[in-house]
């Protein structure tokens, strides 16, 4: 049970939460309302001419087959990115937790990539995998004989942006998994070992369930990351190409709004994006969270 705090007067309580409420209003609700209004308008970028068009912007995006395709791409991209970064993060976390020496050094090295901005991470991977000047791409082509070409081949491009996006998030996940693993009492694991459970079985029966709050939290965070923050990677690596194969929703919002200055379309798309992410998060909390064990 959480203990309730009591304030002698309500006034103080309100006073104390005022800054937070103001910040939320100014930086979240105000822009969101602006976005909503904008999505119902056709307007020029300088805001001198606008007209109210009801749901025309929405109608336009939902009758665009490419937009629907982009939703599919986004879902696939986000799930793959979240899955890869979670799986690798968990694997590295468990391994580093078992490491006997240089634990601190290992941890630092594994956390490092998180300090890299998504756009830079995209460029790094591009330098490795670009068909014209990538070192690894050269190896794949000349030594392995693989026809690797993300500039031309949509699947290759999607694979490239997934890897670049997931790579960066691995460190973030790693930090949380490390913390989660260290919170698991050794006695439980040792008891299971004495009972004859092997490392894999100990992991699945003891560690994994006890890590479930961390995993759940990270899943939500990773999906949100994949939806919104991977824009930098896509912008530097593929610009949504080839032929729209990596055109995720957030990248389309940027393309239409910031580059194309088509405010109405862009606002409508961001609302759809917001609705989508809210739905996914609510679904996660309703159905996945039930399986999470918060207490030991």
């Amino acid at each position: 049970m959480i203990k309730r705090s009591h304030f002698s007067s309500k006034g103080l309580a309100y006073l104390l939460i005022t800054p937070q409420v103001l910040v939320t209003l100014a930086f979240f609700y105000w822009p969101a309302v602006q976005g909503l209004v904008q999505s119902l308008m056709l307007s020029d970028p300088f805001g001198l001419k606008s007209q109210f068009v009801w749901f025309e912007n929405f109608q336009r995006i939902f009758t665009d087959p490419l937009y629907l395709k982009s939703i599919g791409i986004t879902l696939f991209f986000s799930l793959m990115t979240a899955f890869i970064s979670l799986a690798v993060g968990l694997f590295l976390g468990s391994m580093a937790n078992r490491a006997l020496r240089a634990k601190a050094l290992l941890r630092t090295l594994l956390i490092w990539p998180y300090a890299v901005a998504p756009a830079i991470s995209g460029i790094l991977w591009l330098f490795l995998l670009h068909p014209s000047y990538g070192v690894v791409a050269y190896f794949l082509r000349e030594v392995v004989g693989m026809n690797w070409n993300p500039v031309l081949n949509g699947n290759d491009a999607l694979f490239l942006v997934i890897i670049a996006s997931a790579w960066k998030q691995i460190s973030y996940n790693f930090v949380f998994f490390m913390a989660g693993l260290q919170a698991i009492p050794h006695s439980l694991v040792e008891a299971a070992a004495i009972d004859g459970a092997g490392p894999l079985r100990r992991f699945w029966v003891i560690t994994f369930p006890l890590l479930s709050p961390t995993i759940f939290f990270l899943t939500v965070m990773n999906i949100i990351y994949a939806f919104f923050e991977t824009f930098g990677v896509i912008h530097t690596v593929t610009q949504g190409g080839p032929g729209g194969a990596t055109n995720t929703l957030v990248y389309k919002v940027y393309q239409d709004g910031f580059i194309g200055l088509n405010m109405g379309a862009s606002a409508a798309q961001s609302l759809v994006l917001m609705a989508l992410i809210i739905t996914i998060t609510v679904l996660q909390f309703r159905y996945v969270e039930k399986k999470v064990q918060y207490t030991m």
Partner: protein
């Protein structure tokens, strides 16, 4: 006491007047937001400094606000907050957005209002015509203008036993067919690559062959314009490039310029179609002999039209004080002077915008020393621009280019035939054009 009080008051007033007088003597600041970075930014700063040193009345402050898209965005946001600069540099594809915005002070009007009698016929017409309204009035001052040309690897041409192309007479695409074959047979990994595929292979291709890119004189004569690229010539051209991919005579290296440029510089591609503003990069990085020729044309095109420009122009924005506009006009006039234009061309490769500067460069023998710098200017000036070749004026042009990029990529990776892709690009772009028309009615 009373008198002393009055004296104090008097001296205070005098001090205020004096102070105000001093403030008046401070130069009037003129803000200019631009997208020029690196070496170009340095040259730009030199020009600004030259202006500031040349007089005391005005002080131009040039601020780099990021890349082209970011500069326009910053301008838009600042305009909404009424904190916009006097001069905003906007890329050529944003021309329609800027001219329709109602937020600008047309340059021809500004110069006339401030008493500058400028002979616009002394400017490079192919550059000027991109930025004029339907009555041929100049809306924004051309600043950095380039066009697309053909770079080629001299060493690889020699190895294939090929003659070097002329710097004035374009090769025909039929000759290109033979040349790329020989190049690949002689060991070039790739025959030809291109940067900015929409700009070079569709927009410029259409202009050079005098066919419309869009109806209503490429959009100059009305918002009810529609795409006109769904024509046999463009489709045939794309089919040809697609067929060349089978034996590496053409290779797609990605959007914009980076991929194609590095392929050429690495010596992997024998021919590169790229903006003249890429000269600096090739100069610096290519470890082989290279040269520049005009863009190829179809054999039946005896009198090829001028190519069209890329780059950006300077827009003067509404809502500043009259005496500040005086300074803006003085500055724009200063930039157009031959000295500034020559400096700009020599250091960046962008075109000088006046014929006078061009003539002086010729007389100085600049082009005898570096002949490839002149190929683009000649290609731009070889004829009088027609309605099809003076430029393209479309709303949401950035998104239309993006649509073209997407559809062309689907040609290159074999998901669509050129005819299908161009038909789809036309339909999708027309939708954008209608949306823009509705917004700007």
């Amino acid at each position: 006491m009373k008198i002393r009080g009055a004296a104090t008051l008097f001296s205070l007033m005098a001090a205020i007047v004096l102070f105000a007088g001093q403030a008046m003597a401070e130069p009037i600041t003129i803000e200019w937001w631009h997208a020029m970075r690196g070496a170009r930014g340095e040259t730009l700063d030199k020009m600004v400094k030259a202006f500031n040193d040349s007089q005391q009345q005005y002080k131009v402050v040039a601020v780099n606000k990021g890349d082209y898209g970011e500069v326009v965005n910053a301008g838009v946001a600042a305009y909404r907050a009424k904190k916009h600069p006097h001069i905003l540099q906007a890329f050529e594809v944003g021309t329609m957005t800027m001219m329709r915005s109602g937020a600008i002070y047309p340059v021809y009007k500004l110069m006339a209002d401030e008493g500058y009698k400028i002979d616009w016929s002394g400017y490079l017409q192919a550059v000027l015509s991109y930025y004029v309204d339907e009555k041929d009035n100049l809306l924004s001052m051309p600043f950095n203008s380039s066009t697309a040309v053909m770079y080629y690897n001299v060493d690889l041409f020699k190895k294939a036993g090929l003659e070097m192309p002329s710097k004035t007479t374009p090769l025909t695409w039929d000759q290109m067919d033979e040349i790329t074959k020989k190049l690949v047979a002689a060991g070039a990994k790739k025959g030809m690559v291109t940067t900015w595929q929409s700009w070079i292979q569709v927009e410029n291709y259409s202009a050079i062959h005098d066919i419309p890119f869009a109806t209503k004189a490429n959009g100059y004569e009305g918002l009810d314009t529609e795409m006109a690229i769904n024509n046999p010539k463009v489709i045939k051209h794309l089919e040809r490039l697609k067929s060349w991919m089978a034996d590496n005579r053409f290779s797609y290296e990605g959007r914009e310029y980076q991929g194609a440029n590095s392929t050429f510089v690495a010596g992997d591609a024998a021919i590169l179609m790229e903006s003249v503003s890429g000269i600096g990069n090739v100069q610096k990085n290519a470890k082989f002999a290279w040269d520049i020729a005009p863009l190829p044309v179809e054999a039946d095109m005896k009198q090829p039209q001028n190519s069209i420009i890329g780059g950006a122009s300077l827009w003067v924005m509404q809502g500043h004080a009259k005496e500040e506009y005086k300074g803006v006009a003085a500055f724009l006039n200063f930039l157009a002077q031959p000295d500034m234009q020559k400096l700009w061309h020599k250091e960046t490769g962008y075109f000088p915008i006046t014929l006078k500067a061009y003539e002086e460069l010729k007389q100085e023998g600049f082009f005898d020393k570096i002949p490839y710098q002149e190929v683009g200017i000649k290609q731009l000036n070889r004829t009088k621009p027609t309605k099809n070749s003076r430029g393209i004026r479309l709303g949401y042009f950035v998104q239309i280019r993006n649509i073209l990029d997407e559809e062309m990529e689907l040609i290159w990776n074999g998901k669509k035939t050129p005819a299908q892709a161009i038909a789809d690009a036309t339909a999708r772009s027309n939708e954008k054009l209608r949306e823009f028309e509705k917004t700007n009615k």
